[in-house]
Symmetry: C2
Subunit: 193 residues, 2 copies
Amino acid sequence: MVTARNTREDVIAAAGRLFAARGYHGTSMRDLGRELGLHGSSLYSHVTSKEDLLVAVVERGAERFEQSAEEALGSSDAPAERLRALIAGHIDVVLDHTDEAKTFLDEARSLEDPARRHIRDARNTYEKRFRAVIADGVSSGEFAPETDPKIATIFVLSILNAVERWYDPDGELDRAALVDEIWQFAITALTSS
Amino acid sequence: MVTARNTREDVIAAAGRLFAARGYHGTSMRDLGRELGLHGSSLYSHVTSKEDLLVAVVERGAERFEQSAEEALGSSDAPAERLRALIAGHIDVVLDHTDEAKTFLDEARSLEDPARRHIRDARNTYEKRFRAVIADGVSSGEFAPETDPKIATIFVLSILNAVERWYDPDGELDRAALVDEIWQFAITALTSS
DNA sequence: CCTACCGATCGGTAGG
DNA sequence: CCTACCGATCGGTAGG
């Protein structure tokens, strides 16, 4: 059996790879065809436009993060533990679905407006999950009373979203240790006054 | 006196604006010409190539950050205060030279290799300034002994580099308060065990 | 998924 | 800084 034909999912996965590596505008349909071993024009039997591809990749990224947050919040632990679960889930998405995560984080701005707004909303929803947990911790007295949940959330997400830019999966710091470092940093900042 | 001719500096400034807003690959030389009120081909009397422009903008960004760090470290205060000065300086660069800062942070990856390496080095040098201050704080006992200066530096810079993505200069949080929030968050995480 | 294209746009040059 | 271009490449279509 020779190599089978590509599916739409194959095309989207390859697009994620290239968009993450070179950016949306830095990737041509012919580049993408080459990556899959077919002609650029043949891609149009799988997608209707280049932007259609960006939408698909970014949307998958958004779903991964959203699903991760929902699972993390399944437990009814204390705020500190729920924050830990959110952090661990976020890192899993970034490390297990790097291309989608990177494209979601860095290339969504190239989307045109219906999709763009939808992704903006998804991002806000995700952010609210973190904010609610932090606000809970402040209310319960577990976190410091001066904490501004909105700003603290931005800071934690800033750390999480930057991971793709520096973390080396083959380096000395393994995944569990990475989660631990981030959690420790965040929880210390949130707990002490 | 009618509008004077554009200088090379005008061209670089306009390029910074467009690169920051739409990305390097999302900006064409004709877009840039339009921004300046001249033909795309006329830009070549000021620059030798499109990448020449990216190099110029990114290089200016790197210089701003480097200069800011040097000034911040002029004082011989305690580590916590020197970290504060580094943070304040970084925020000044981001808010006063937003286009250069954004292009430096987000578009440097589109550089080809001599310039690319040079920028990577500049980034590492800048990072080392932060790391040295944090390491000093650990040595002096001012910061918690478990602190890993390398990782703590990455976390602080992650927060700083994300500012351009969410901060609204016309919002409720003014510059001094922004610096204060970041510093408080960082110093708390670094100080407590 | 290929062949054969399309018009538009790209970065860039020559010669004023 | 303009005019007049260049070859290459772009996203995309028609018709198998």
